[in-house]
């Protein structure tokens, strides 16, 4: 099995890229000697807030570059790609689901889904994309009638599912979900996880599910605590 994600000797401190937080120079938020995820794995990545989760996600998606070390997605080193190529690479290979407010509120559901395929280099004709969007809606148990509704009219649970559809329409190798269920009640959460797993399985997508809620861990084959891979002394406080 080939590694979809491979991290080597990663270290990161905000000081080098932004002045946002008063973090002293010596204090790295992340220090990860080694971490990898194989194709087809469903990984539950958990850690309390402030454990460097968000930073790791920013790095995995190529929005932030490591201060040192190597982060490879599909054997491609983020650091070796230039800004635009990096954006295109992300567009082509990584799907992402936010904790909440995933959708552009003023676009309708269909446009929100199609936006997922907008920035890649896949030149699929539009009607084919629309077909696929409908298929995804079916798989996610969303009525097709929602397609032309503005995204802001949907319930939170529906919005999160549409976000999966948007992430998957470009058929990414890697799907990263950042606490996608935290805004959902239990019934919705279970339904959400069910369709997420089904679709990941069906599309042969590697899934990285990030959460601070360990009760969900039981549903995943592989569980990784961030604190166990992150050697940074006292990170992010």
């Amino acid at each position: 099995m080939s590694a979809i994600v491979s991290v080597k000797n990663l270290s990161f401190s905000y000081e080098s890229t932004t002045k946002k937080k008063a973090v002293s120079v010596e204090n790295n938020i992340l220090e990860i000697p080694e971490f990898s995820i194989n194709a087809g794995e469903h990984v539950f990545l958990f850690g309390p807030s402030g454990s460097g989760k968000s930073t790791l996600l920013n790095i995995l998606t190529g929005l932030l570059l490591p201060s040192s070390g190597q982060v490879k997605i599909l054997e491609q080193d983020w650091s070796s790609l230039k800004g635009k190529t990096r954006d295109a690479f992300r567009a082509n290979h990584i799907g992402f689901v936010f904790q909440q407010l995933n959708l552009i509120p003023y676009l309708d559901v269909l446009d929100n889904i199609l936006l997922g395929a907008e920035f890649g280099q896949q030149n699929r004709p539009k009607h084919q994309l629309i077909e696929q969007a409908k298929q995804l809606m079916n798989d996610l148990q969303l009525p097709e009638s929602l397609l032309l509704k503005p995204a802001r009219q949907l319930s939170v649970g529906q919005q999160q599912r549409v976000a999966i559809a948007r992430a998957l329409i470009k058929e990414p190798e890697l799907l990263i979900a950042d606490e996608p269920t935290s805004a959902l009640d239990e019934a919705n959460r279970n339904a959400f996880l069910k369709v997420l797993f089904e679709l990941a399985e069906k599309n042969n997508t590697t899934l990285v599910f990030v959460s601070h809620d360990q009760t969900l861990a039981s549903q995943f084959k592989r569980v990784v605590g961030i604190q166990s891979i992150n050697k940074a002394s006292k990170s992010g406080e």
């Binding site: 890229t17 932004t18 954006d87 992300r90 995933n102 446009d111 199609l114 936006l115 950042d178």
Partner: protein
Amino acid sequence: MFVKLAKQSLISRRTSVLLTVLAITISVFVLLSVEHIRHQAKQSFNRTVSGVDLIVGPRTSQINLLLSSVFRIGDSSNAISQSSVEDLASHPMVSWVVPIALGDSHKGHRVMATTADYFQYFKFGAKQPLTFKQGQVFKQHFDLVLGADIAEKYSYELGKEIVLSHGTGVTSFTHHEQTPFTVVGILNRTGTPVDQTLHVSFEGLHHMHEEPQNEERAHKEHNQEEHDYEDQDNHEGHAHHDKALDHEEHENHDEDHDHEEHAQEGGEAAVEHDHDHKVSAVFVGLKARFASLVMQKWANDYKGEALSAIMPGVALSQLWRMVGSVETVLQVISILVLITTLIGLSTMLLATMRERTKEIAILRVLGASPMFIFMLIELEVFVITFIGCIAGALLLWITLLAAEPLLASQLGLFIDTNPISETSLMVLAFVLVGSLIMGLIPAINAYRHSLQANLTAR
């Protein structure tokens, strides 16, 4: 999708967007109208008279004489006598003279008495002569030649009989009903005050005022004239505009009294025949251009009465400088208004950045480049400004259509109602470029947001 995003994003914030568009519309309207009027006024100014080397009239300011003789605005409070005109005409440097007399009106439009030479020598624009659309120059006493606008406005045709009124107010109480004039010619449009003028011969004017022979009528008319004066005094403030013609009238039906008075004022004895009438101004053509200065001095030194002579080109540019400086102030103000508006536009977009942080994060994680975000904001700026520009131009066009007759009749300004000219397109381009530059502020803000896009930002 790019365009759709911008469009939907604007629609979703329609209230603030509409207000911004409205602000831009107004500032574009102000900017364009100042520019348009300035351009048109200058053109209109400069094309009013041409081919005339000198205008000689009673002693007054350059601009006064120019306004009354060429623009037919205001009043010619004084007049010069026929003998001065004859002296002028006989000067060796003078090639032609065309005397004019103003003072009567028809429905508020000026009636100008002149000679048939006027149609030959008076030119406008780039030395274009006056041409007849229909008919010909007046031949009989009560013949009348119409300017294009008058003919069009009242649908007057050849053969139509028209009654002229005494004085220049719109509502005159004295109509020369006994002496209707017959339209014998209609001029082609010139875009100058000529279009608003009714032309008659001196003989016609003279006979018209001579007409009420019986004393009772004459008396009655006198009383009416007094009312007429009062009326104009109150409403328009030019009560004295045609004293000269008035005198002439008195002279003719009331000879005894008038001789003295006339003699006092005019400084010379009136000779009673058809050709003795006072003249408001004289258009003069010279044998050589350089003679202008000589003739100006001649007029200033003229012994018979106080004369002044102006060179139309010089007077026009002097007038233009007066008006022009006002327009420069207006221009500066309108540019300031525009800048304020553009700052408002930029502020509006900046204010939305907070709520758009999430949007930007979404687009970024989907693979949009920071440049895409930057362009998205600039596109919104462009769309808002573009709509504002179109709306502003439309508003101006409608306003011009409404204001054009008023400007022509009240100010003698002949403007083109089409606001789209090379200059106005330049102005619009300037506005668009300016807005894109101001749009850089929110766009760069968004760009930087997107570089630092934090996936957990909310």
